[in-house]
Structure formats: structure tokens, C-alpha cells
């Protein structure tokens, strides 16, 4: 992208009208700027332009120059254009002064019809089963620019179908139109050059280089940019037709990057998550890890009913009963006997309510669970909590988020803490045996999934996952972004902020909060960084509210404590994985 503000402007005539576009703009982009759409397959604005699909052909010309090197003018006083007799591709050509372009002349239309006919010669036309149907460029351009009938009588070339390119991508070579977008993506964005064309002519096929697989963490982006149904997501393949999907703009919560996404749901079932363009955060891409990280919302161990411990057993209860039970249990203790472990996966609204809860109970022990894992240089962040910055701003603690966790664990072990509130986290992250947690007189758990430790809780409050609620988060670079509700929670599970609000009201406080927007309004009134913001002002693309260089000086990074907590997490996960594998080997089902 050329730097638009400083580049000199060129005059360019598009379909007979003069416009001014900055120097360095590609013709196809210049047309797009003024609202003239030029069809394209191989061209993608974030990738290089090979110009191999020939769909973006236009007529191009330059003013005829007189002997004085000035454009000659016709009788109507306008420059006379010397049209190039052959059509040109618009995606590989930058604009130049005085250039003229025709995008809908008879020649252009003829060319587009011809290209479409060529592309469809060997295309299987299996739209009824193709997952791309409904968002397929071949379908759309065929309608807009193609012929209604095929003149092709011969047999079509048979190519391999159902080619497994990698663990997450399946290829149907018959549908491929050889645009090479995927190849260029792997080379230019993912830095993992695994794809290429082999064979010649009609028999050219896309394939992975021998001995290589398309298994990098960004492989599913090739599915997004494939203009036809050749590259398909193995996960989404044949699951649902795209026109049924309700698209909700949201963000990915799998790491601190906060890639902007579109969640596709139908009747409260999430089918896929695709990246949404935001040049400040994720460009057009997102990682496979984050993209597929929504399955846990339908896990078998999802908590569906509020539960109360009675006679040593957890019994399903209704919400008012569970909330009042939780508040009664909490009110037995003074502030320094209670610990609240919140989560960096909670939204700002929920964190604010948590901090209010802590305030009205007088709780000092409050922190979140840190998550550190190796990141990459592309999108994936080291910090796997999506809202560490939100916790840092809103919880108002004097140390780095996650640093106090081990101290809380120690206090629980020593019996100093009598009541433990786990919000959206597994209590095993504290690094102590379940039996010890079972000794706690009060152990309130609000979470999405049931874990071993959940069985020992005195009150269980089923909450919502990221796709089931509204809220805001601050990503690793200090950008405030919005989550939107794509699906309703299953069973009797409830929006987190409502649970926290009710709990807050039950222990005395938190009045006149009737929506999560109200909570955000309170945040904007109390937290300086949020001043003047509202939910609607955040917008779909977010706002930058935090410059990461200027972290508050009151937050010295407590690296050692965080590292300790993360290590316990990793150890837990390793043990869990081993147990899982052992069970799997023995053929034992989960739980």
C-alpha cells in the first residue's frame, strides 16, 4: 500500500470520467475506489499480483501526445486517447498520469465471457454439494459476466478429489481454477512454502510439494481466500450451507492478539469462525488455533444447571436459590478470609463487577490466572489471556496480573483463606490436590465446563462462553474491542455479567445495572482509561486506548511469580494429557 497522504495524485480516466488517485495505486484498486468493480480471481489486495487468471482484463489507453509532448485535444476539447488494441490486466498495472481505462466496453465484456467459459470447461459444476456455494466467486461472476450456456461437448478432465493437504485442509482439484492465491499466501504470509502447481495444460493440479504437508498454523486462511470451493476446511466441510449461517462480528479470545472474527451460527450452534479484516489488528488473517477454538462450548462436560452442595452432593437449583446461597455463604466470612480468582478471559464488564464484588466484601486476595505459551511472529501472542490488559486496568491491583496467584494458593493451603471464588477458571491452576480444595468451607465456582475440582464446589454457577455474550476486551496492544453474542447459552447457563451483578446485589451493592452497557458506562465513569467511551463508540474495529510502552509504574512485572503459576499450569496439562492418553489406550470413555 502506498502512503496515501504523501503520494502525488495522478489523473486517470475510468469509463469516461476523470478521477484523481495517488501514485502507486493499482488500476484494479483505483477502479474499486471509485466504485467500479473489476472481477478478479487471482488478485488479492494483501498478496502479490501474478496476473494469471485473466479475469480482470480491461481496455487501457494513453493520451495521444502531439509534437509538443502535450496531449492532443479533439474537437470537444478533451484529450484524444490512444487505446491499446489488446486488453490488459488491471491487477498488475499501476496508474500513470493521463491513463484511460474502460471496464465495460464490448471488448472487455467479450473477454470476461471468454475467460468465464474457459474456467468452467473443466469445472465439475457440483454446486449442490460444494461448500463454497453461496460465497463462490465462480458462481457470482458466472451470473454477472458469463454465458448462460456451455458450448463444451467433450468430456471433462478428471482430477483428484478429496485430497488431504494437511490436518485441517482438504483439496478438491476439479474445482480449482489455478489462481495461485493459496500458494502466494503460504509463501508471503505464512512463510511456509508448501504448495505448488504440477503438470501442464488442462492437467495442471494444485498439490503440496512432495514430502510436505500444509500444516502450518495459518493453513485455514487458504480456504478463506480460495475464490472457489477447491480448498475446504476439513472441520467445516459438508457441515452446513453458508447461506444458513448468521454472521456475528466478534473477536477471537484465544490469545492476546484479539483477531477480529465473524462467527457463523445457525440456531445457536457455532459452525465456523472466519477472520474479519482489520488492518490495525490482524489484516485479513487469523491462526488455525484460534479459529477452531470454539468446540469447547459444546463439550460434554458443559455446566448447564446451577448447583448447590447439600449433604455432600451437588443438587441442581434455580438461579435465585443459587445466587442467594452463594451470597449467604460469602457473608459468613470477613474480607481477608475470602479469595477471588478471576480470569484474563473475562470481559472488562465482568472484571469490573468482580472488582466491585471484591470491594463490597472487602476482599484483598484477588488475581487472575496467567497463561504463557510460545507465540509466533505473525499473529499468535505469547499471552494466551485475551484480556490481561483489561484485568490490569480494572482490577486495580498493585502487581502484574497473575503474580499473586501463588500467594493465594499458599494462603488456601495454610487455611488462612476460608472461602474461594473461582471465576471462569479451573481451580487446579492453584496447584494443589483436590482433597485440599474439598476442605474449603466455601468454594464457589462460576465456569463453563465442569472439572474435577468443580465436584468439590459448594455452589456451581454455569456461565457463558465467548460467543454467547457481549462485552469488551483490551488486546495485547492496548486496543479495546467488542465481543458480540452469536449464540444463546445452552441449558440454564447464564450471561456472566448477570450472574456477577446478581451476586453483587445479593451481597449488597451494584444497583441500577440493567444491561452490560450500563456496566460499561460505570467503567467509563470510574476507570480513567475508559473515560468518554461507550459501547457504541468502540465500533466494529475497536479503539486504541492503551500505549503499551507506558505501563503504569505501579505494576512492576513480577516475572518469577507468574512463571511459577504458568509452570504449574503446564505440569497440570501434561499430567492431564497423559491421563487422557492412557484412558484412550485402555478404551475408557471420558469420566
Amino acid at each position: 500500500m502506498p502512503n496515501e497522504s504523501s503520494a502525488p495524485l495522478f489523473n486517470i480516466q475510468i469509463d469516461g470520467v476523470w478521477h484523481q488517485v495517488p501514485k502507486g495505486t493499482r488500476v484494479i484498486e483505483a477502479c474499486a475506489r471509485i466504485g467500479v468493480f473489476v472481477p478478479r480471481y487471482c488478485y488479492h489486495k494483501k498478496l502479490s499480483s501474478p496476473g494469471n487468471c485473466r479475469m480482470c482484463l480491461i481496455e487501457m489507453g494513453f493520451p495521444r501526445l502531439g509534437p509538443d509532448r502535450k496531449p492532443e485535444r479533439g474537437s470537444d476539447g478533451k484529450p484524444i486517447i490512444n487505446w491499446i488494441p489488446r486488453p490488459q490486466i488491471s491487477c498488475a498495472q499501476d496508474v500513470s498520469e493521463g491513463m484511460a481505462v474502460r471496464t465495460n466496453s464490448p471488448l472487455v465484456k467479450e473477454c470476461q465471457r471468454g475467460v468465464m467459459e474457459f474456467l468452467l470447461i473443466n469445472h465439475p459444476l457440483d454446486c449442490p454439494i460444494c461448500d463454497q456455494a453461496g460465497e463462490c466467486r465462480l458462481q457470482e461472476f458466472s451470473v454477472d459476466f458469463g454465458n448462460s450456456k456451455s458450448r463444451f461437448l467433450e468430456n471433462k478432465v478428471k482430477k483428484p478429489k478429496n485430497v488431504v493437504l494437511g490436518p485441517r485442509v482438504t483439496l478438491d482439484d476439479e474445482r480449482c481454477i489455478l489462481c495461485s492465491r493459496c500458494i502466494r499466501f503460504c509463501q508471503e504470509i505464512a512463510h511456509d512454502d508448501v504448495l505448488g502447481f504440477v503438470d501442464r495444460g488442462s492437467y495442471t493440479v494444485l498439490t503440496a510439494h512432495s514430502g510436505k504437508r500444509l500444516e502450518n498454523n495459518y493453513s485455514l486462511n487458504t480456504v478463506d481466500i480460495c475464490p472457489v470451493g477447491a480448498l475446504t476446511s476439513t472441520d467445516f466441510r459438508f457441515k452446513m450451507r453458508v447461506w444458513f449461517l448468521k454472521e456475528t462480528k466478534s473477536i477471537c479470545t484465544s490469545c492476546a492478539t484479539g483477531c477480529n472474527t465473524i462467527i457463523g451460527t445457525r440456531e445457536d450452534v457455532i459452525y465456523r469462525q472466519t477472520p474479519r479484516e482489520n488492518d490495525h489488528v490482524n489484516s485479513c488473517w487469523m491462526c488455525d488455533y484460534g479459529r477452531l477454538n470454539f468446540k469447547f462450548l459444546e463439550a460434554e462436560n458443559r455446566l448447564l444447571e446451577p448447583q448447590i452442595r447439600s449433604d455432600g452432593k451437588l443438587i441442581a437449583a434455580d438461579w435465585p436459590a443459587a445466587i442467594s446461597e452463594a451470597s449467604l455463604q460469602l457473608k459468613q466470612f470477613t474480607g481477608n478470609e475470602i479469595a477471588i480468582v478471576a480470569s484474563g478471559r473475562m470481559t472488562n464488564e465482568e472484571l469490573w463487577l468482580t472488582s466491585q464484588l471484591a470491594k463490597s466484601l472487602g476482599v484483598q486476595w484477588i488475581d487472575i490466572v496467567p497463561r504463557r505459551e510460545p507465540g509466533d511472529d505473525i499473529l499468535l501472542s505469547e499471552d494466551r489471556n485475551p484480556n490481561t490488559n483489561g484485568a490490569r486496568l480494572i482490577l486495580g491491583s498493585t502487581s502484574e496480573p497473575g503474580a499473586k496467584l501463588m500467594a493465594i494458593a499458599e494462603a488456601v493451603k495454610s487455611g488462612e483463606i476460608k472461602a474461594l471464588v473461582m471465576l471462569k477458571e479451573n481451580a487446579m491452576h492453584l496447584g494443589m490436590p483436590v482433597e485440599q480444595l474439598a476442605q474449603l468451607p466455601v468454594f464457589i465456582v462460576m465456569n463453563i465446563l465442569a472439572y474435577e475440582a468443580t465436584q468439590k464446589a459448594t455452589v456451581v454457577l454455569p456461565a457463558c462462553g465467548f460467543a454467547e455474550k457481549r462485552g469488551s476486551m483490551i488486546n495485547g496492544k492496548g486496543r479495546l474491542q467488542r465481543l458480540n453474542r452469536a449464540a444463546r447459552p445452552p441449558g440454564n447457563a447464564r450471561d456472566d455479567w448477570e450472574i456477577l451483578r446478581d451476586l453483587l446485589q445479593a451481597v449488597g451493592g451494584g444497583d441500577s445495572l440493567s444491561s452490560s452497557d450500563d456496566v460499561f458506562r460505570r467503567i467509563s465513569e470510574t476507570v480513567p482509561h475508559f473515560a468518554g467511551l461507550s459501547v457504541s463508540k468502540i465500533g466494529d474495529l475497536g479503539v486504541h486506548i492503551l500505549r503499551m510502552k507506558e505501563l503504569p509504574p505501579t505494576h512492576p512485572r513480577d516475572e518469577k511469580a507468574i512463571a511459577q503459576a504458568v509452570a504449574i499450569q503446564a505440569r497440570r496439562r501434561a499430567v492431564g494429557r497423559k491421563v487422557h492418553e492412557a484412558r484412550k489406550a485402555l478404551g475408557v470413555r471420558r469420566d
Binding site: L125, C127, P128, I129, N155, K161, N162, F238, M240, R241
Partner: protein
């Protein structure tokens, strides 16, 4: 603009209304008498008489799935019928055909295909929209059940109603 229909001016005899009432009574009695004497043609006596044999070809009865000559379920679960269905009576769960299967090339088939006949309005949109000519409205019209669940036609029932449809659809032909 509304039209005001002028009220007819009635003379005193008409205003008595008696002749009109008597005439009305005569008409109804004539019908009664003709019926009693068996002169009136009555409607078809449904369960005994049916017009099954004379149903026209375009009759829109229960929708059904058909198989092709090879016994393959023609439906490829494209869900266009589910999309177009005005009362949303159709529910499809798609599945993938395993690669060892004879029809592996087709790739996709309906794992479940339910038509809720309580909802179905026999509009024929599904038949019209189907790109595979897999769903047809057949001549069954007496669809009954004791429960709501009974009234949901599952895939087996639909295929049973539909039977085999002969016709040249070369799309899934290996050669073509």
C-alpha cells in the same frame, strides 16, 4: 376511494319484507325437498369414493425423496429445499459418503432428512428448487398420525413414498 352503493328505495310492499321472506323460505324448502327426493347431486363421499385414480399429474401431495436407477438416493443434501421451504418444514443433516463407497464421487448425502408434515403446506417449492431432481410431490394426501412425532416423515419414509425415478441425469456419471 370508497364507492357508496345507493340503497334502493323500497315501496310499501317491499318494506313489509314478507314476500321476500316467503320467497326465501320457498327456495330453501326447494333445496330441502330435492335433497329428500334424491334429486340433488351431492359431493363425493370421501372415504368410500376417492379420486386417487383421476388425480392429475401435477397434483401436489406429500413430498418424497426418490432414488435413481442405480438405487442411489438422489439427494445430495444441498439444503436448498430447506432454505426455500416457506413453513420451514424440512430439516436436513448432511453427511459425507465414505471414500470406499460406490458413489464416493458424490461425496455428500443426507444423513437425516425430515419433513414435518404438520408444517408442510404442499406448495411444491422444494420440488421446483431441487437441483438434483431428488424431491417430488407425490399423490399421497391422506397423511395421518397419532402424535406429532408420527407426522414427521423421516428419510426412510420419504424414500418409501418416493420410490425410484427413472430419468437421464448424467451429472454423477463417472464418464461425464
Amino acid at each position: 376511494m370508497a364507492i357508496t352503493v345507493p340503497r334502493p328505495k323500497l315501496n310499501w310492499r317491499e318494506r313489509l319484507y314478507m314476500p321476500a321472506i316467503v320467497a326465501g323460505l320457498a327456495i330453501t324448502f326447494k333445496h330441502f325437498k330435492n335433497m329428500l327426493l334424491g334429486r340433488t347431486k351431492v359431493t363425493m363421499q370421501y372415504p368410500e369414493q376417492k379420486w386417487d385414480s383421476s388425480l392429475p399429474d401435477h397434483y401436489r401431495g406429500a413430498p418424497a425423496l426418490v432414488r435413481d436407477e442405480d438405487g442411489r438416493v438422489r439427494c445430495v443434501a444441498c439444503q436448498l429445499c430447506e432454505f426455500i421451504c416457506p413453513p420451514r418444514a424440512i430439516k436436513i443433516v448432511s453427511g459425507e459418503i465414505p471414500s470406499k463407497d460406490r458413489f464416493a464421487k458424490v461425496e455428500k448425502y443426507p444423513e437425516a432428512f425430515d419433513i414435518d408434515m404438520i408444517r408442510c403446506i404442499f406448495c411444491g417449492m422444494c420440488e421446483e428448487v431441487c437441483p438434483e431432481q431428488a424431491i417430488f410431490l407425490r399423490k399421497d394426501y391422506a397423511i395421518t398420525g397419532f402424535t406429532r412425532a408420527d407426522m414427521v416423515h423421516h428419510k426412510e419414509k420419504l424414500l418409501e413414498i418416493g420410490g425410484v425415478m427413472h430419468g437421464v441425469v448424467l451429472k454423477w456419471n463417472e464418464k461425464k
